[in-house]
Symmetry: C2
Subunit: 442 residues, 2 copies
């Protein structure tokens, strides 16, 4: 669909520097386990939402060092000739297990576990974190908005507020976490997400009168379209809309003003004009709190831009990529962890479960294994659901987790697991994570 672009240089230089040094001292071939996890949830969130996994798998396919990438690394003396030869043939041949896309997570949850040689696994750090940190930040914000909106539909309209390719990722993450549509056409093409949108203020300003603009839009798009009624005076806009469209008009959109008051006025005016079926969409600087504050207002749909695409105050999920276990020179496995202040992490290979009792999630249970080869860790009890699935096995990428089918599966999975959350998890205020993470050695 689009030309494949190498993703190999979407990488911090120190990864290649370490690779270079490791090829020199022989540690490059030590088998390693890296975890991707969050030390804490940003913004006092009650839960995190995994997003980006399917995108990461696609980008991993394109993580190849071609002539141009190698030339740059040689010319800039980033690595030496031995390392260039290693990179020339680079394919990730290790394995990745992780949480399903759309799954919830909590502090310490191993969203991804990457196993391979140090050489092949260390250089994926930046790509994995860039994708998951942005997409999961958007998904967490989207999930909160979706909770606040209840049954009312949400459309993602934030493309203009974030980098042009992040915009596509944002639309995808929002869809996974409960949004119904996006304004972003590339997200429609690439991921099969429903797209929407009718007209901007420039449409009205282009015409000699608001009535001309509405009439032209109705001729082109039919009377089920949505007219933007706040370019000049809202009351006049509503009157003109119904005069031109008739009472069967599909919808009006309000993009400014004090929304609870304005929405109520517009509803009253529409009803008085006989347009009882005309829907009201609001789109002005919404976030989860503004959406919640409109719960009692006569609003039929929300369009969310800035707050969605920038993670509503927490633009990055704070995920890290840490070495948690490795072989020593003799091949024995050693759990490892940084011990410096405030950034300590939990070493060892982990198997994660969500304990669900009577349909309600109670705990994130992480079993830290003694052995380190990946194997099935039996659920510690009947109510514990295993959270990790194979994503890459010996270099073979799970194609079902990529592409459009992966997005749809992630959206369904998210809806299913969000329904298990205790009620306290649905509150919007800043607080502790809704589930506690408990470690158990196994």
């Amino acid at each position: 669909m689009t030309a494949s672009v190498s993703t190999a240089l979407l990488t911090d230089r120190y990864e290649l520097t370490m690779l270079d040094a490791a090829l020199h001292d022989g540690t490059a071939s030590r088998r390693c386990v890296f975890d991707v996890f969050a030390r804490r949830l940003p913004g006092g969130r009650r839960f995190g939402v995994v997003a980006g996994t399917g995108r990461l798998l696609s980008l991993l396919r394109d993580f190849r060092f071609g002539d141009d990438e190698l030339r740059f690394l040689r010319d800039e003396r980033v690595v030496d000739a031995q390392t260039l030869r290693f990179l020339e043939g680079y394919r990730f041949t290790g394995s990745i297990h992780g949480y399903r896309e759309g799954e919830l997570y909590f502090p310490g949850s191993p969203l991804l576990t990457i196993e391979g040689t140090f050489a092949e696994a260390v250089i994926l750090e930046t790509l994995a974190l860039s994708v998951l940190n942005y997409d999961s930040a958007v998904a967490a914000a989207a999930a909160r908005m979706s909770i606040a909106a209840g049954d009312r539909p949400l459309a993602e309209m934030g493309s203009r507020r974030t980098g042009e390719w992040s915009a596509v990722a944002a639309a995808r993450a929002a869809f996974i976490a409960g949004f119904g549509a996006t304004s972003n056409l590339e997200a429609g093409r690439r991921w099969g997400i429903p797209t929407m949108g009718t007209a901007a203020h420039s449409w009205t300003l282009l015409h000699d009168t608001e009535a001309d603009a509405f009439a032209a839009q109705l001729r082109a798009l039919g009377d089920q379209t949505t007219l933007l009624i706040d370019t000049y005076d809202i009351e006049t806009g509503v009157a003109t809309a119904i005069e031109v469209a008739g009472t069967r008009l599909g919808g009006v959109r309000i993009d400014s003003g004090d929304l609870p008051i304005v929405a109520a006025q517009v509803r009253r005016q529409l009803d008085a004009l006989g347009a009882r079926g005309t829907r009201i969409t609001v789109t002005s600087d919404l976030d989860e709190f503004a959406i919640a504050a409109l719960a009692a207002s006569p609003v039929d749909a929300y369009g969310v831009g800035t707050a969605l695409a920038t993670g509503s105050g927490s633009p990055t999920a704070g995920l890290v990529y840490k070495l948690v276990a490795r072989q020593d020179a003799g091949g024995a496995w050693i759990p490892v962890a940084k011990t410096s202040t405030a950034k300590a992490s939990q070493g060892g290979r982990k198997t994660a479960f969500r304990v669900v009792e009577d349909g309600i999630a109670r705990e994130e249970l992480i079993v830290v294994a003694e052995g380190f080869e990946h194997r099935e860790t039996p659920a510690p009890h009947a109510s514990a659901r295993a959270l990790q699935v194979p994503l890459v096995i010996h270099g073979e990428i799970d194609a079902a987790a990529e592409g459009r089918s992966g997005v749809r599966a992630a959206r369904e999975h998210h809806a299913r697991v969000r329904a298990e959350l205790p009620l306290t998890a649905l509150a919007l205020s800043r607080s502790e994570p809704a589930l506690e993470t408990r470690y158990q050695s196994g």
Copy 2:
């Protein structure tokens, strides 16, 4: 260098819907002027920094509707057959004038002025805003950090905290606004930005001892490398570093702890060990305020990640793309502006000047023209510097503003114009814009 990917669907659906309706009613061919500007500066910033212009020009070259894009639009019934034919041949044939990349801006400053038919100009809205909103948000944060850091070098290390392609843009924007290097290799390849980086905690954890890790790094990279000394205990880490490297060690990096205290301790320890020339780099969750708070500490260089790539609390610049003038059916020019509450804008074509007296910027002066064809508006007085330059003339893109040379020119321009700011503009606290924007009819 990389395959060219169509950017045409990095677009909100409503732009194509409006195009479709405009081709129906004949308004598509009305000539229009759109401005990109900020209504206010986010986060109480004193000034904004234009970044992304050169990237936008490159992306504009790839704004082409190929078979795959057209098929999607047809299959999804986004537009009709007439519009598909228009898009098939689409090339932007209008003109774009704008602020130089790296220039400062203030509320109302016309960062870009796009002139063309409604049809060709309306569909560039999302792409232009995505690029400029993200890049300018990062550049504004970077400029503040650069002011706080004074003469000490700054490195951009935020790739993992933002979308994978936004990361490349962030490195570029930070370089323009005063950073000296980036960890992002793609930014090095694509934009010629110096790259840096040595080792992560995983490097130390990979080895059986910290001393083994340091020794291997020194063998591979020489003794001018920077050793990360906080994986376990910092005091031991410093002692081990000097023991292994000798007193000529290039640098140490501290990535955790209470930095003013830790940096002072590490400096004392290095000096006591005789390593008086060993530099200290700090990299733990820095932003402009943390950097300012380290001004009196013995720190030699800063690495900034999260706060840089997420705009330090203001992840988007809040720029909008608004129709400000258009022709009517008879070809006469009409200034237009939305008048709804709080989002009102200033209609008419604008020529922007910075009034600089005795080398100090005093005012942003915007002359709103009566005529609308682009022409040279003479500077209203000798101390007013014209801010707009031609970027695209009748579809011809200014190649000098693109690519590596554009980045370097933007960085130099930024340093030059930042030096003109009054001292009050350099404070980090939330306040009003440093210069007032004054409109004058001309």
